[in-house]
């Protein structure tokens, strides 16, 4: 046991986690080529790393088998088989012995060679296997050079200590194995922070802590109330934190009592209380927290963390699953919102000076309607399986709405021609640019609903980049300009028979709940973890 170490950060979810640390270092992108004299020893080093990787995969397979069933576990079985492939192994060993190179470099070259082979095949399934080759190779390389593989390699739930986590890394994390995130960088409004809230995970960003491998496996406490991480805590701290954790758990239990209760103010006004989610797995949390629907389903997860566009079929299956699981409760899917801080290389979007003001979201969809139509077809086809609404992000003009409606009409007439059924689907837009908020009276007659995305609306109104932590001090979440735009948007909607909700982080801000109710907001969509606390707040409001 060393001495207790304290790090301070910005908390993104209030809660306490106690557990072991997993130091997550990204595998070196640039593998260095080194000349090795003792090639026999280098082969032994490779074989040992491979054996360790196989052990990790076996552990993952067994855990996944217990937790999620054989179908999901199979991937780890396949990874083991791939790692034992004779050609792959021959290629690595020949490289080490014939070229006198280090094992990392040999694995890296074999990875390039074999993933290229799969990528060149004329079959989507086989092309997708290139990602598996990369995955197994990275696993071996990170064992070789002492960095850890992705956090999923952990068998036990852990507190992840990392420099930063980007959205596509975060979506790949196994949620069952996360006790907390603690990152050196990142801002309270980043997507990783939003994800931590969705998953009820106490997490700190912008934390002053070294990324020392010596912490790996050490016991730590993350206090999301105070924004503190204690590494190797002393007995007094441990006792105090255990007590604090017990209290927090008790409070959570109290909230559980509100399950099944109506979301209605004292004066009898009903508010729709929905959830924001970013993947199919989040639905379990939505249902656990007794949410009344999904007010924002970020469809990006279908596009991130892969090398090719998702097919119509893949998307259809995903939407169908969500709609069926929600059993007739409303599900509002937001169409593709790639760009800005959420990037996927295969979109081929050129590097931009200012991506937040660049080619993103609906702009991509209108420029490349084929991408958009695939998503809309999948959505309309899935609409027969539940109660679907679709909303469009980053709208600034009526012209865009008209173009969208033309494309929707095309999609529907194509489905009609093919005799494919679809249901009645509500169409709405995100109000997340000052432009859309200000002309909301012009837009309202053409949509069924507005959903105010307060994160982007705030960032564009105050001209503050939400990914830049050094600006947090200037950011005023209750800025009057933002509140006035919300009020005006709500009035515009009601004047034209549309409804108006809030799906940004501000929707969960309990200090504003009363104000939103007075404005006449019809729906609040928040991280599932906030559902019951917000229901409590609404029931106590006038």
């Amino acid at each position: 046991m060393g001495r207790m170490l304290i790090g301070k950060g910005k908390s993104v979810y209030k809660g306490i986690s106690i557990g072991k640390i997993f130091v997550y270092k990204k595998a070196e992108k640039n593998i260095k080529k080194e000349i090795i004299e003792d090639t026999a020893a280098e082969v032994v080093r490779f074989e040992a790393a491979k054996a360790k990787a196989l052990g990790q995969l076996k552990g993952l397979y067994e855990k996944a088998l217990r937790d999620v069933g054989e179908e999901e576990a199979m991937i780890f079985d396949i990874h083991q088989m791939l790692l034992e492939d004779l050609d792959y192994n021959d290629s690595i060993i020949n490289m080490i012995e014939g070229e006198n190179v280090n094992a990392e470099y040999a694995v890296f070259l074999a990875c390039e060679q074999f993933s290229a082979m799969f990528l060149s095949m004329d079959d989507d399934y086989m092309r997708g296997r290139a990602a598996d080759i990369k995955d197994i190779s990275e696993r071996v390389i990170s064992i070789l050079n002492g960095t850890q593989a992705a956090p999923e390699a952990m068998a036990e739930p852990v507190i992840i200590l990392a420099e930063d986590l980007n959205p596509s890394e975060t979506v790949q994390l196994d949620k069952d194995k996360l006790l907390a995130f603690v990152t050196q960088k990142g801002s309270a409004n980043s997507h990783t922070a939003i994800l931590a809230r969705t998953m009820n995970i106490p997490s700190l960003v912008n934390t002053d802590i070294d990324l020392d491998m010596a912490y790996d496996g050490a016991t730590a406490i993350v206090d999301g109330f105070a924004g503190v991480i204690y590494i190797e805590p002393d007995e007094v701290t441990m006792a105090k934190m255990q007590e604090k954790k017990a209290k927090a758990d008790e409070q959570r239990a109290l909230l559980q009592e509100l399950k099944g209760k109506e979301t209605v103010t004292k004066s009898g006004r009903k508010v729709h209380l929905y959830s924001n989610i970013g993947s199919i797995q989040d639905i379990d949390t939505v249902l656990e927290n007794d949410s009344e629907g999904i007010g924002l389903f970020r469809s990006e997860f279908l596009y991130l963390g892969r090398d090719t566009f998702p097919t119509e079929e893949e998307q259809f299956e995903a939407y169908k699953t969500v709609l069926s699981k929600m059993e007739g409760k409303k599900v509002i899917v937001r169409t593709l919102d790639i760009g800005a801080d959420k990037q996927a290389d295969y979109f081929g979007i050129a590097e931009e000076e200012n991506p937040a003001l660049g080619l993103r979201a609906i702009r991509i969809c209108l420029i490349q309607p084929e991408i958009f139509k695939t998503q809309l077809r999948a959505l309309y086809r899935a609409s027969v399986h539940g109660k679907l609404s679709i909303m469009f992000p980053m709208i600034i003009s009526l012209k865009e709405i008209m173009e969208i409606k033309d494309i929707v009409a095309e999609v529907k007439s194509e489905l009609d021609k093919e005799n494919i059924a679809y249901g009645a689907v509500e169409l709405g837009i995100m109000i997340e640019t000052p432009a859309a908020a200000i002309i909301s009276d012009i837009l309202a007659p053409h949509v069924d609903f507005f959903s105010i995305g307060t994160n982007d609306l705030s960032q564009y109104t105050m001209a503050i980049d939400r990914q830049n932590p050094s600006l947090d001090a200037f950011f005023d979440p209750h800025h009057e300009a933002v509140l006035r735009m919300i009020q005006w948007t709500c009035e515009s909607a009601h004047k034209h028979g549309a409804w108006c909700g809030i799906c940004g982080e501000l929707g969960a801000d309990m200090d504003l709940t009363q104000k939103f109710l007075e404005m006449g907001i019809d729906e609040l969509s928040v991280s599932p973890a906030y559902t019951l606390a917000l229901r409590k707040r609404i029931r106590e409001s006038e």
């Binding site: 396949i78 492939d85 004779l86 095949m121 086989m126 296997r129």
Partner: protein
């Protein structure tokens, strides 16, 4: 040499999992086992090579075994195809 021909029934063709299981099965035998779809050939013990043939549903493949245990081997491999592909 012993051989049989087989029409692939699996929706995904010879995909990763059956190819991996086939490699495991093939490793049990001393015989050299070859898969041939008319245009490409691969050693059944080599998973990625088999996958890279890209054998799809409905395609006919010829599997042959050559070695001292070829008779028993080909029987076992044929059973494997019937059960898994």
């Amino acid at each position: 040499m012993a051989s049989f021909t087989y029409t692939i029934k699996d929706e995904l063709g010879i995909h990763a999992r059956p190819a991996g299981m086939l490699a495991k099965e093939a490793m049990k035998w001393n015989s050299a086992i070859t898969i041939d779809n008319g245009t490409k050939k691969a050693d059944a013990k080599r998973l990625m090579a088999v996958m890279s043939m890209g054998v799809k549903k409905g395609q006919v493949v010829t599997i042959s075994a050559e070695g001292e245990d070829e008779a028993a081997c080909i029987q076992a491999v044929e059973k494997f195809f019937e059960e898994n592909l």
